[in-house]
Symmetry: C2
Subunit: 443 residues, 2 copies
């Protein structure tokens, strides 16, 4: 191994029994695993065996209120509250980072700051927060709103939200404790700082009740790739997960986002761009292709259309034939970058509704790479060396097999090429990512 060579970062995106929307129907998969904590712990062990930087949970608040019969067919991701779940996984893992999505739109920043500070302590410095702003009306309906907050406002609010959260993470300077039983001073009173934040969206006068997080701040991740999302990421994020379909688009996104860092006085290396990739691995190219087609054949058309409709901003596709071209429709207040990605794809490849959902339903808009371990490693290496990615967020099509195949076949190939670590050299998620520990604003 060439130890001085720059190495890629890898995240293992965990979701139910696989990322492919029809994963649960695959004969290799036990669908009941979706409801078991032991399954998630097993996936975390496999990912840690592969020396992944982190595991990663998506999150959505509740279920879309569409026909229950359709939901029942879709094997909607079954998931518990992600931070308690990661806290439970922390105890049975040692090194791997623990990243969860939490939306800024419906949880007060005091709670978020405290939850992530706790997870960072519980895991001894392995917590990461994937900041999203939510992109659906059904989530708004759970919290007393008829419609979601408009896109631009959600991101303005998120920007202020991050300031509040960091302010609370700085409630205590590092090493504040004296434990002086004789004098009766438990901590140094100069090292406690109440946040006094009075902003456009939040008024927060408070301090957390526990020490500064082990990592200073848990790692901040962002997944929004719209212009609002990129602006927020440039200001605040340390990892960006993104859905990119072509090398050229990914290079453009990478360059564009890194260029914006300078406006905030940030080094380009202080933010890692990690596109999503769904690897379909075979011993031969033909076997891989066959595996892919088997999964695709399991997609129920009604599920495919419903998923597509949700990604496009809840537009009604029922009045169109399934083999009609993808129609025009208005801009969404929801997941704008995901909508744009799909429109571009449909127009570029001149797709019908069926063809588009077939592409989308597989990896939910993320890139699918089909081939042998070696050819998949080639693809990852190409994007990594050609300025399109600092690493990848791996979306295994099925669990546990899709993940263990990646760990047992692709990772050794990346390691042989010197592109990925063979052992963890650090203990915290920041150390894995080669990100500095932020100093307290008071130090």
């Amino acid at each position: 191994m060439v130890t001085t060579k720059k190495q890629m970062k890898l995240g293992a995106f965990l979701q139910g029994v696989g990322h492919h929307v029809a994963a649960w129907r695959h004969p290799d998969v036990n669908p009941a695993d979706a409801t078991r904590l032991s399954h998630l712990k097993n996936l975390a062990h496999i990912a840690e065996r592969g020396k992944f930087d982190a595991i990663f949970f998506a999150d959505v608040l509740g279920l879309p209120e569409i026909d229950n019969r359709l939901l029942a067919k879709g094997a909607i991701a079954y998931f518990w509250e992600p931070l308690t779940t990661l806290a439970a996984i922390a105890g049975s893992t040692e090194k791997i980072g623990l990243i969860s999505t939490v939306s800024t739109s419906y949880l007060h920043p005091f709670h978020l700051a405290r939850l992530f500070a706790s997870l960072d302590h519980i895991s001894e410095g392995r917590a990461g927060w994937n900041l999203v702003t939510s992109g659906t009306d059904f989530e708004a309906n759970a919290f007393g709103l008829n419609n979601q907050i408009p896109h631009t406002e959600r991101y303005l609010r998120a920007r202020e939200y991050v300031d509040v959260v960091k302010g609370l993470w700085d409630s205590w300077e590092d090493q504040p404790y004296l434990f002086d039983q004789t004098s009766g001073n438990f901590f140094d009173p100069q090292k406690l700082h109440f946040l006094h934040h009075q902003g456009e969206y939040f008024s927060v006068h408070a301090a957390l009740q526990s020490a500064r997080p082990v990592q200073g701040y848990p790692v901040i991740v962002q997944a929004g790739s719209s212009s609002d999302g990129q602006a927020l990421a440039a200001a605040t994020a340390e990892i960006v997960f993104t859905a990119q379909q072509s090398l050229q688009d990914a290079q453009g996104f990478y360059r564009g986002l890194k260029a914006q860092l300078a406006q905030h006085g940030r080094d380009p290396d202080s933010l890692k761009v990690m596109p999503g990739v769904m690897p379909i691995i075979g011993r031969t190219e033909a076997e891989a292709q066959e595996k892919y087609e088997q999964l695709q054949s399991l997609i129920d058309p009604a599920v495919g259309i419903a998923l597509l409709s949700a990604f496009l901003g809840n537009i009604d596709l029922s009045k169109h034939g399934i083999d009609d071209p993808v129609p025009d429709f208005p801009n969404t207040e929801g997941w704008q970058s995901r909508q744009q990605l799909l429109i571009d794809l449909a127009r570029r490849e001149n797709l019908t509704i069926r063809q588009l959902y077939q592409k989308v339903a597989g990896a939910r808009g993320h890139r699918i790479v089909i081939g042998t371990a070696s050819s998949i490693a080639d693809q990852l290496e190409l994007w990594f060396t050609e300025g399109a990615a600092d690493g990848f967020n791996i979306l295994a099509p099925t669990f546990p097999h899709g993940l263990s195949e990646f760990v047992d076949q692709v990772i050794p190939e990346l390691q042989r090429r010197g592109l990925f670590r063979t052992e963890y050299t650090g203990n915290t998620l920041r150390e894995h990512l080669e990100l500095p520990r932020p100093r307290s604003q008071y130090q």
Copy 2:
């Protein structure tokens, strides 16, 4: 052991390095333990060894904004977010219940329902929610309010909050999953129910994304003993933690609360009344008394006065001499029942400010029982058999020693008398408490 004899329930209230306000200064205690997860796991193991029904965390959102120098002397409880902490403890325990306080005043019921549902799944049916409404202005300040919500309104809101939470816990009927890979039905669509709640305080249209909690509903606990608190408990609670100083008062409280259950069509056994008790255990009565005095001698007067002031509703005691009688002061919007308890105590025993804080600072208003294991068991047996308690919430003065002394000395004595289990007979917290598993409102 007489197996047919009714047995008491026991909760182990965990907090920092002990419940006595000066615990951290005691030579038996390592104050650094307050900041360690391994310490909390150790306490949970000790309590499980003692066959306690549950461990129990208090919670407060942030710190009072008083002089940092005073906070530093008080060894304010150091704690993380309790649900992530209990999720971390779940994996290293097997049987013991896991109860946490969460306030209804600052967290949306969707989040609370989801967090406790997750903890109940993660722990395989051991979760309990101690419902509080918060009682301080500093917590309101963390969430954009200048002052806390008035007492009566907090409890009205809490009542509606519980309805929302139970509605969300019923999103799924029991056993909804089909996992039918061939037909493509993951679950039975008739077993999913969206909550449509439109009330005075909340509008919630949503369903949780995971199965019904293992216990149906996690056990609901309540600690407010004011008339508003009792009314809420009679309608919703299955355990009531209460601070009671005398057998007669405790009997009155017990009778009064149990009588209110009938108004809601509830059986008296469906709610367990568990007063708090701080046991100070010695090999002789004299040794126990000496231990108590040693702890009391470690209380810094400034800390004692500050704590007393907080319990009385943030009244300013500084204009009074420390050896003056306790003055009159207005009703609080905060912890009303705690305020009343202290006023009654001060008047009954004609106490000065110093004498009152000495009593309060020890156990924060809870009863202190000083003696040998046998005499402490006598006290617990008396309250249990004389209609004052269904069990006790044990507040060990120091950790871990105060708890392990109770487990090694008092619990065997209770077991010899047939008053406490010698082995767990169930797996869930409900089973320990002999509470039925609630049916879904849809079944």
